[in-house]
Symmetry: C2
Subunit: 119 residues, 2 copies
């Protein structure tokens, strides 16, 4: 039961595409991640995924359109929906999703993260 300062936690993240867990509740986790460049197309079989932009601009590409998110804007990608986050410049994002959600969903690649650090 300690408060979490998002900026302070983000300052401790040195890399990209490597989510950290900063809070957990009701079987869900709050994660922080820095993004840069295009990610991998993927979907999550059983998890809806919330993206809330804290800094920068995130483009969430879906199969039929793209959603641009600025700070203070959020979007929920429903389970099963193919998506690809793209950050033309560095973006800081808060994720909210079930504990155990894997960042690359149905795809396994070099940036897949199974065990996440808690900060």
């Amino acid at each position: 039961m300690e408060k979490v300062d998002l900026a302070e936690k983000l300052a401790r993240i040195p890399d990209h595409w490597n989510p950290r867990v900063v809070a957990e509740l009701n079987g869900q986790q709050v994660k922080l991640v820095k993004l840069l460049g295009p990610f991998t197309w993927h979907h999550h079989e059983a998890e809806d995924e919330l993206f809330l932009v804290v800094r920068g601009r995130l483009r969430l590409e879906l199969l039929d359109r793209a959603v641009e998110l600025d700070p203070g804007q959020l979007f929920v990608v429903p389970r099963g929906v193919e998506h690809r986050p793209v950050a033309d410049e560095e973006v800081h994002v808060l994720l909210f999703e079930p504990a155990g959600t894997v960042n690359t969903g149905n795809v396994r690649e070099a940036r897949t993260r199974d065990a996440l650090e808690r900060i």
Copy 2:
């Protein structure tokens, strides 16, 4: 599947202590609420509750201490833990908690909200 702009949604909230639902995922809801003054001491039997301050300063009183939250800071009140939010000046808060969580928890009073508007 539409993006949610927190400031735009908050601008549509005219009252205090009346949470609105702005997103839902994995059985959880994202709510926005404006607070002013002291709330009611209460707890939630089965729900952990996340408070993320968007604007202003929130004091979360617990039985043995108080936590002050500024914008960009969050706190999780675990289920069963008695708490009282206090806003000396107006505070804008994002809540994340299971769908159906009632704002006054185990207490019923004039500000209890069972059916929440979606905006």
